[in-house]
């Protein structure tokens, strides 16, 4: 069974610090996503990435956020200056297309901003 991996599983940071959340999507997938889920709240879409550029982004994904696929395998989400309200579970997902379309989520990174 293919799987998406995410590191770290839990990140604690001070307000104003930069964090980088890392994801390794499934190797032959083409579309990559970041979502977040604040504790007890609904899942929120942040951004999708295709062909080495952002294809869609939500209103949440402001200038504090950026994504990269630096080496063809890792997919990262950077938050430049974290705020308390950025504390959430961050999920990476990848999507295959052509034939059996499906989306696989990683286990998530819990980000705690103090």
């Amino acid at each position: 069974e293919p799987e998406v991996t995410q590191t770290p599983s839990h990140q604690v940071t001070q307000m104003g610090q930069e964090v980088i959340l890392r994801c390794v999507p499934i190797s032959n997938h083409l579309y990559f996503y970041w979502y977040r889920q604040i504790l007890g709240q609904k899942v929120e879409f942040l951004v999708s990435f295709y062909n080495n550029e952002i294809s869609e982004k939500s209103e949440i994904f402001d200038d504090q956020f950026s994504v990269e696929r630096p080496d063809g395998s890792n997919f990262t989400l950077k938050i430049r200056s974290t705020k308390l309200e950025d504390s959430a579970m961050y999920f990476c997902a990848s999507w295959t297309s052509g034939g059996t379309d499906t989306q696989y989520f990683g286990p998530g990174t819990r980000l705690t901003v103090l």
Partner: protein, 113 residues
């Protein structure tokens, strides 16, 4: 009115029952409709997605979209205790360079053995 409304439950059913999960929405621009299953402390798992109106079946799961009523459903036949999870609906539409991709709050389902 919220863009996507989903009854949070919890919904408890006996094993073998047919489960009906529903979402309503207000934005007629939504084109893709998804259902996810999320177990406690895990990432969501895509169960089904549908483009525009109609039905889609996959094993014990059937997704229905009624765009005229702005109503989507997920049916689970022969429900099993392993189906106990939170079920999330989600819908998407493009708008002016940003992407609306809205999740419901999720319905907690418990299937009793």
């Amino acid at each position: 009115q919220k863009e996507v409304e989903q009854d949070p439950g919890p919904l408890s059913v006996p094993e073998g029952a047919i489960v009906s999960l529903n979402c309503t929405y207000s934005n007629s621009a939504f084109q893709y409709f998804m259902w996810y299953r999320q177990y406690s402390r895990k990432g969501p798992e895509l169960l089904m997605y549908t483009y525009s109106s109609g039905n889609k079946e996959d094993g014990r799961f059937t997704a229905q979209v009624d765009k005229s009523s702005k109503y989507i459903s997920l049916f689970i036949r022969d429900s099993q205790p392993s189906d106990s999870a939170t079920y999330l609906c989600a819908m998407s539409a493009k708008k002016s360079g940003t992407y609306k991709y809205i999740f419901g709050t999720g319905t907690r389902l418990k299937v009793l053995a």
